[in-house]
């Protein structure tokens, strides 16, 4: 046990050294291992089954990418280490070399591009409005004077604030402490709408007592490209990752992976998210790109 610990320390030391060399491919080849950053609970994108097992749409894509990297480097064996990260520590951990490739649910935006690099966009998230099916609400304009729920600590809070400012619509905002709590606000009638990422809304509606009671309505409030993240200024590694993902997009394998995680029952509870890919996501697969969120807003 002690030996492993010492080894881990030594590895960490080499890792932080290699971070400055900024050559992830060489680091992977020399060490025979790679560290993947994963999330404990990011919907079907990246989550844990417990016991150190991590799965999800982005995790599977990354495993595929790393298999390609292994082939490219001609390694007989490549050990993949999984490192759980949070919204707060994911960027520092990629920067300091603890994590080589982050496969969670990170939005690609200009602020973050100053610190890290993103692979081609694999999923385009749309911020939507969920309401009760019988509420008669069909657009954000009808929410004037109504209570709108969203979750503390998410970008949706800012999106809502910007919309309020831009359109002069006046909502009464209520903040849930997590997504389940926000959904309860909608369910119990304390809020008339729940504004959040479409995948999260779809997941919560699917898990509710009576999914037919709720629906997603209205315009897309914000579009956020979600991508796999890696260190900045390492063009060789970025190219290897991008090429592998682009090949998956071309062969249609990425659509199959999506189908597996978002339209089929998934572990551990064997429930379905039930969300077909949206048009923006399909467009990102058809024309692979790593445009930041700001470019989507201009359209």
């Amino acid at each position: 046990m002690k030996k492993t610990f010492a080894l881990a320390l030594a590895l960490a030391a080499t890792a932080s050294g290699a971070a400055h060399a900024e050559d992830t491919l060489k680091k992977i080849k020399d060490g025979g291992s790679v560290t993947m950053g994963v999330r404990e609970s990011s919907g079907a994108l990246s989550y844990t089954l417990g016991d150190g097992k991590y799965v999800g749409y982005h995790v599977e894509i990354c495993q595929h990418v790393l298999a390609d990297v292994q082939k490219q480097l001609g390694l007989a064996k490549l050990e993949i280490k999984y490192q759980p990260v949070t919204s707060q520590n994911r960027i520092p951990l990629v920067q300091n070399g603890t994590v080589d490739i982050e496969c969670g649910s990170t939005t690609n935006n200009l602020t973050r591009q100053k610190d890290v690099a993103f692979a081609v966009t694999t999923f385009v998230e749309e911020v939507r409005i969920a309401v009760k099916a019988n509420s008669g609400i069909t657009s954000i304009g009808q929410l004037n004077g109504k209570s709108v729920a969203t979750t503390t600590g998410t970008t949706s809070v800012q999106t809502l604030r910007k919309h309020e400012r831009a359109t002069g619509v006046d909502f009464k905002e209520v903040f849930g402490k997590d997504h389940a709590d926000s959904f309860l606000l909608l369910e119990s009638g304390r809020a008339d709408a729940f504004v959040m990422d479409g995948a999260i809304l779809a997941g919560n509606i699917a898990k509710s007592k009576n999914p037919a009671d709720y629906k997603l309505v209205g315009e897309v409030l914000s579009v956020e490209p979600i991508a796999i993240m890696m260190r900045k200024d390492d063009p060789a590694f970025k190219k290897a990752v991008d090429d592998s993902i682009k090949a998956m997009m071309k062969s249609g394998e990425i659509a199959k992976t999506w189908h597996k995680w978002f339209e089929q029952p998934i572990p551990p509870a064997n429930t379905k998210v039930g969300m077909p890919p949206n048009d923006n996501t399909k467009a990102a697969w058809a024309n692979p790109n790593d445009k930041p969120m700001e470019d989507y807003a201009k359209k």
Binding site: S87, Q88, R112, K162, E173, F175, K177
Partner: protein, 247 residues
């Protein structure tokens, strides 16, 4: 550790541009504005809850020492009910469960509900301390008061409580400081107080360390001010020769 960015507090919460002079105007709000308003919410929740807690806690503490079984039972039941359920659970009961049972409560803003939740929770702890303060007095004091011809309420008012309250000022000070810190649970029911500000602003600005440091500082200042005020009161009301009265 050298890359601090304290300018984050001067940023506009809408577009992230730095506002000159840090405070927004004409509908623009900087993170500093937001934090100060959040501090206001924290203090409002905490101080109103403290008023509720002191009133109810004193009442229940007194009831637990009167020579009447029914009232003692009421005081004991109150104390055990509110101190044996976790605070966060109580907040959720007030917010989600009670309005479902009593529809009138639906109309109340969550601010009022959280003030009651926090006030009742703390009142149980204050009741315990007030009871202990009264019981620490020699029995003879009560008898002396009654023998003077005072009614029971008069005995409490003029003989027992003036001494009991002086004795329990130190634990009440801790409780008053706790209520400032405990008010952080209000974020869970959508009160825009400091903890909610910290969670939201660090996500929006990616400057978590600066935000959390500033928020911790404000909590410290708030609790420490309460501490100093309580100390001043303690010195002001002390009676020479009594417990805590020697100097």
């Amino acid at each position: 550790m050298a890359n601090w960015d304290w300018q984050v507090f001067c940023k506009n919460t809408i577009d992230g541009e730095v506002i000159p002079r840090c405070l927004g105007s004409g509908g623009d709000i900087s993170y500093l504005d937001w934090m100060l308003s959040a501090w206001g919410w924290t203090l409002s929740v905490a101080l109103l809850a403290l008023v509720v807690a002191l009133l109810l806690g004193s009442l229940m503490g007194i009831l637990r020492t009167v020579p009447h079984k029914g009232l003692v039972l009421l005081g004991n039941a109150w104390t055990e009910l509110f101190r044996n359920i976790p605070l966060l659970v109580q907040v959720f009961l007030w917010y989600h469960v009670l309005p479902a049972l009593v529809p009138v409560l639906k109309g109340l803003p969550s601010f009022v509900l959280v003030v009651f939740a926090l006030g009742f929770f703390t009142s149980a702890r204050i009741a315990e301390q007030v009871k202990a303060g009264i019981q620490s007095l020699p029995k003879g004091q009560r008898y002396a008061g009654l023998a003077m011809g005072f009614t029971l309420p008069q005995t409490y008012r003029y003989v027992l409580l003036p001494m009991a309250f002086r004795i329990v000022i130190p634990p009440l000070t801790s409780e008053s400081m706790n209520i400032i810190k405990n008010s952080a649970v209000a974020f869970a029911v959508s009160i825009a107080e400091l903890t909610m500000f910290a969670m939201q602003a660090q996500e929006e600005t990616s400057r978590g360390i600066e935000i959390y440091l500033a928020v911790s500082g404000l909590y410290f200042i708030s609790a420490f001010t309460i501490n100093r005020i309580a100390l001043a009161i303690e010195h002001r009301v002390q009676v020479p020769g009594m417990i805590g009265g020697s100097k």
